[in-house]
Assembly symmetry: C2
Homo-oligomer: 101 residues x 2
Amino acid sequence: MVMSVDTDLLRVLSDPLRLRIVTLLARETLCTTHLVEETGARQTNLSNHLKVLREAGLVDTEPCGRFTYYRLRPEVLEALSGQFAALAATARANADTKRSC
Amino acid sequence: MVMSVDTDLLRVLSDPLRLRIVTLLARETLCTTHLVEETGARQTNLSNHLKVLREAGLVDTEPCGRFTYYRLRPEVLEALSGQFAALAATARANADTKRSC
DNA sequence: GACTGACATCACCATGGACTGATACTTTCA
DNA sequence: TGAAAGTATCAGTCCATGGTGATGTCAGTC
């Protein structure tokens, strides 16, 4: 039984800047200002990407005064990892299965 | 140490039809004709997507007379799975790390 | 209450890429 | 050798989406 991978989630992660953000957030919880410093991207651009990450359930927001902290949710990445592992296992199990023409 | 995930590979996998192809190939090795039957997509369209999958190293081709068999390469998916797992593990380890503003 | 900083939203533009029809190439078979 | 089937390539169209500037909103500070 092959678990289906969510293409929307993959699309979200396939953007270089968004993956950069995710990688940075894996190391520490940051707010937008930090991300602007780290990535060199414009605030507007980052805000747009963070919205996408939020809507994909990849990050949680934590308002703190006038700052907004962004925290990565490991569960989502773990699930994705598991889905790819399952897909790879299926492929290995059926390595010799070939439909004839 | 966070392994960097390849965004190009993610972009390739984030297309619904391509992921569909990958999922089908995980179950059995197929040729283009089979994929046309299974997906309902045009031959030209499929050929384009298969080229993308080939160039991304996700599939191997095996010519067989006038047919071309496509075989999924599990290593690539396994590597991807491991990279996401590592990223998630990093995030769990640093769950309480927060940079102050 | 006026001002500044942090962040979000909006409207717009530019570009990548998915899909298509036409066509070329290659193999098999009559 | 001609025809048909399987597949790849090419040129073109169209749309989704990433980037940007202008602007809005809210919290803290004077």
